[in-house]
Symmetry: C2
DNA sequence: CGATCACGTCAACATGGCTGACATAAAAGC
DNA sequence: GCTTTTATGTCAGCCATGTTGACGTGATCG
């Protein structure tokens, strides 16, 4: 009798714990994106522009197809925002030297500035969370987030020789 | 000289660490929503429907305005998806007894079934991540996620007397 | 009884996904 | 050298989900 009750309780706690995890993710992600979204709205951009600017800043000289692979959207969707960013000179396209079909993407100075403006609030938010939680908690956070991903994305964070992009031919 | 170099290195590590945090969030959240999104698409629903079903399941007899406060969308946006869910009998509306202006929302059996179907993959994903990471890491994850939120949302997770919704008059 | 509140609804618009089709230049393969 | 594949771009249209603004109705409150 006591055993059954304990079992049920265990199940309840587990369910509750998992729900809490889902909600932590929901609320944290929403607030994480809220501030940049406001800034973006002011200049007529959306979250999609931020993502493009972010990853181009992260991986200078990235190709269009590499960017597509990261974002996992269609080239038509990307082209809309990327086109605007190029026309408004936030991003520069250079024809690849080894492969002239490629358009290597890079932030202009204007692009770097916008990237900083947008991501700074997010970096501060994370920095604050890391500070409040402590180094050990950060390691736990990292572990859980990695466990949430499929192998493919998890590989992007592999510690030995970040097999990201830069490794390959360009 | 060595000091300067160490300082620069520190800065670099910090910057890199924060970027990693941002990306962990980006990738994990995307994969977290990917599976339910597929199921939803098959029955002609979207992520918005999932969110409504989830929170109505979480807080039975929730009112429309409470739901709006959680989702932080406009009533017009909510009304579209909520209307569909009610018409297709996933959600039941009951006039409040104490306040007849309120429409108390509840999942029907059909709604409970769909909620389970949708959230089960997410719960499993979290359970897997928790298992892989270990109890201590989970606590760290919780701390970091809470640190990421503004006070308002953080309060929803306050351990003493969950001042969620149920507390108030209905 | 008048103001406020909870909720609903109509209309119009923007963003950012999607599919499908077609185009072009460069590279790779036989 | 000719053919096929690849990297990229582009047009057109659809869908989901967010927005603002205006207006309506019944219930509650002071």
């Amino acid at each position: 009798m006591a055993d059954i009750k304990a079992g049920v309780n265990q199940l309840f706690l587990r369910e509750e714990e998992l729900r809490t995890g889902m909600e932590l993710l929901f609320y944290a992600y929403r607030e994480f994106t809220a501030e940049p979204d406001e800034i973006l709205a002011e200049i007529g951009f959306g979250r999609a522009h931020h993502r493009v600017i972010y990853f181009v800043g992260r991986y200078p000289k990235i190709t269009v197809s590499e960017l597509l692979a990261i974002l996992k959207i269609t080239k038509q969707s990307l082209s809309r925002v990327l086109g605007e960013l190029v026309r408004q000179e936030y991003i520069l396209q250079q024809t690849g030297v080894r492969d002239r079909r490629q358009r290597l993407l890079e932030l202009t100075d204007k692009g770097v500035e916008l990237e900083r403006l947008l991501s700074e609030t997010q970096r501060q938010r994370i920095a604050r969370a890391y500070r409040m939680a402590g180094a050990e908690a950060v390691e736990g956070f990292r572990k859980v987030m990695l466990g949430m991903m499929d192998e493919e994305d998890r590989a992007k964070f592999a510690p030995p020789v970040p097999a990201r992009l830069a490794a390959v031919k360009r």
